[in-house]
């Protein structure tokens, strides 16, 4: 696995990856969590990151987000190696993470939440008019119609609407890549539908989207590529249309499925 072949192979005219991790290793003390992980995010595509509990999904996301450092390996943005020393460096690149526990303030309204920590100002005062205009524009461009008013407090929103606000917050800053951690985990059928549509629209706008999910139906429906992790290793990195539901489940649970997956599963240990 040491030599990385970007997908699609170079020279095919397909888009180059926006974000690329090469040969990333990460250990916590004696526990080796990530083994030579290669991961790529392409513009305009939804890349699903799947794996069982403890496969290293969260660790990989936190490495991408700059919360954890790397023990070894390269972090490339638009083909260039970048130095990442913390979450701020990552945000500066235009990479936003929407965490599972949405990090919204219930007592603030939608506009206030979307601009939290990055409020627009006129002199020393907050520029509420400009913020409301931009929030409306962003929500409308994502075709969000389920919200009654942008001045509604977030406490009054449903789970799907909250997820929508959290995603819109990430998109507001002209971000290039959005990582979504289990965005549909706590949602009902209709709300899951809304959020998946939104995920698709983000990719259609040219963003690189990473979807971390346990739900195979969601993944196969919305993803363009699937990266499966097994015990901290990349078991497969394949186009979603080339694999079946069963194959993905096998990759997650056993690390291989027929020709796909880790060749020598028996030696793969944590």
């Amino acid at each position: 696995m040491s030599e990385f072949t970007p997908y699609p192979a170079a020279g095919t005219g397909a888009p180059a990856p926006l974000l690329q991790l090469r040969g990333v290793n990460k250990s916590f003390g004696v526990v080796h969590v990530l083994h030579d992980v290669d991961f790529a995010v392409y513009p305009g595509q939804v890349t699903a990151l799947v794996g069982d509990n403890g496969a290293g999904k969260s660790t990989l996301v936190k490495v991408i987000a700059g919360i954890y450092g790397r023990d070894s390996g390269d972090y490339l943005f638009e083909g260039r190696p970048v130095a990442v020393h913390g979450p701020r460096d990552v945000a500066a690149l235009g990479i936003e993470v929407v965490y599972q526990d949405l990090a919204l303030c219930d007592n603030l309204d939608i506009v206030e939440n979307m601009f939290l920590g990055r409020e627009l100002r006129k002199g020393v005062t907050l520029d509420d008019v400009a913020m409301e205009e931009r929030a409306r524009e962003t929500l409308a461009s994502l075709s969000v119609r389920t919200v009654k008013s942008v001045r509604q407090s977030v406490a009054s929103l449903s789970g799907g609407q909250r997820q929508t606000v959290a995603i819109a917050k990430a998109v507001l800053w002209n971000s290039r890549i959005v990582l979504l951690d289990e965005p549909t985990a706590a949602l009902g059928v209709a709300q899951t539908r809304q959020v998946l549509d939104l995920v698709r629209r983000l990719a259609d706008r040219g963003l690189g989207v990473v979807l971390i999910s346990h739900n195979m139906n969601d993944v196969l429906e919305v993803a363009d590529r699937i990266t499966a992790l097994y015990l901290g290793r990349v078991a497969a990195d394949v186009p979603a249309k080339d694999v079946t539901h069963n194959q993905v489940v096998e990759l997650i649970t056993a690390g291989r499925s027929g020709e796909l997956g880790i060749k020598d599963v028996a030696s793969a240990t944590i």
């Binding site: 907050l126 524009e137 009654k148 942008v150 002209n174 040219g206």
Partner: protein, 427 residues
């Protein structure tokens, strides 16, 4: 942003049509009233309990004692409420974060001691002495804030320790049983002197015109840009209500209220009122119009979310305690101005509970994330009315304790119940 086929104007129309509730809200006064009723039923009551409480207390005391509604007593009430309002305004900052400061009252007492001693012993001018007192208050707040934010000790424990320890300051500096007279013209004058009638009217009219201008300007901008806005009729009603209150109070306080009007002339707004109003305007601006204020609400709502948004939670926590204790110092000096002296017991009695009660009854939540500077002022008036009215009725002081304790408990219950309703209704 690459795939965006529709033109910009279309997108704006789409945006305007996308949020049905925004247009609905703007529709009419009837809708605004309905929205308000829904908010109250959902548990978002704001200052309503305080206003109801004020109405009840005024009715009861007006019937019980014929002099309660006299302009003389009204002016007295304003002066008595001053220090409670200021203390409560400071506490709002700490309560917003879901913390508590039990030491604010005695911090005010200790600061007022420093101010009084600076004048009496060192002959400092009033402004230098006042600044010294506020600096001492701010320093106390800094230490408390650092212990809470950096060491992570619960604020309840830290400030309880300070409540006990700070009582030593005036006791050591003044000596038990003693007191320092505060006879400085300006400081004592805050309570016993009045703004000249003409100046009072000018300020009152300026406040009304300023409020009307700002509200109408804001309304026009928001309508022009197609943003969420209140109906014009509601804006006009708000302006009218404020005008009646401000101009009405000014008119009442501008009458000669001396017991023997032929001989003495006591008229005009007591100087305390403009001080409280200036602080109210300043802190309202800070809380609603600055990034600092917005971040305080965010921390009170969800500290983890605030931290992830890059807000320096610890630094803001310390700042809140500094503001609280600094305002406590101002309150302590106002209390000294009212009583004309500082004694070892200053600030150690009911003051703090009065102030917490004032903030909470005004609509500030003990659970954090909700509260305004005006809550403290409205609540402060309610709380000050109780000892004022009971005092007129010559009731034994145990009744005062019972009633005040009861009101605090009632306010906290209203807070807890409305919070439950809020989380059920999701307002």
């Amino acid at each position: 942003m690459s795939i965006k086929s529709d033109s910009r104007t279309e997108e704006f129309e789409y945006a305007a049509g996308g949020f049905s509730g925004d247009n609905h809200q703007a529709a009419s006064l009837g809708d605004a009233v309905r929205d308000y009723v829904n908010r109250i039923r959902g548990g978002d009551m704001g200052s309503l309990p305080a206003l109801l409480g004020l109405a009840v207390l005024f009715t009861v005391f007006a019937f019980a004692h014929d002099r309660f509604l006299s302009t003389y007593n009204l002016a007295n009430l304003v002066v008595q409420a001053g220090s409670i309002c200021v203390l409560a305004m400071g506490l709002v900052f700490v309560l917003l974060l879901g913390e508590i400061d039990l030491s604010a009252g005695v911090a005010g007492g200790a600061s007022a001691t420093i101010t009084a001693l600076s004048i009496v012993d060192n002959g400092w001018p009033w402004w230098a002495a006042t600044l010294a007192g506020i600096a001492v208050g701010a320093l106390i707040g800094l230490v408390i804030g650092m212990l809470v934010a950096l060491l992570g000790i619960p604020s309840f424990v830290v400030t309880l320790a300070f409540f006990l320890a700070l009582q030593a300051v005036p006791l050591k500096l003044i000596g038990s049983g003693g007191s320092i007279r505060v006879s400085d013209e300006v400081i004592r004058g805050l309570s016993i002197k009045n703004v000249p009638v003409a100046a009072g009217w000018i300020v009152a009219v300026a406040i009304v015109v300023g409020f009307a201008g700002l509200s109408l300007w804001k309304h026009r901008t928001r309508v022009a840009k197609g943003l969420v806005h209140k109906p014009l009729s509601l804006v006009l009603i708000q302006i009218a209500v404020l005008s009646v209150i401000v101009l009405g109070l000014t008119a009442l306080l501008s009458e000669n209220r001396a017991v023997n009007p032929a001989v003495f002339d006591i008229s005009g707004v007591p100087w305390v009122a403009p001080v409280v109003i200036a602080l109210l305007l300043f802190w309202t601006f800070v809380l609603t119009r600055t990034r600092f204020g917005r971040h305080l609400y965010a921390i009170g709502g969800n500290a983890e979310a605030a931290r992830r948004a890059g807000i320096k939670v610890k630094r803001l926590k310390i700042a809140a305690f500094v503001i609280c204790s600094g305002m406590a110092a101002v309150s302590g000096i106002l209390a000294a101005s009212y009583s004309g002296k500082v004694s070892p017991g200053s600030g150690g009695g009911n003051e703090l509970l009065y102030a917490v009660g004032a903030a909470v009854i005004g609509g500030t939540s003990l659970f954090g994330g909700r509260g305004r500077a005006i809550d403290a002022v409205v609540g402060g008036l309610v709380i000050a009315t109780i000892p004022n009215g009971l005092g007129l009725l010559n009731q034994a002081s145990y009744i005062n304790y019972l009633v005040t304790g009861g009101v605090l408990l009632l306010a906290a219950s209203v807070d807890a119940i409305s919070r439950r309703r809020r989380s059920a209704a999701g307002v």
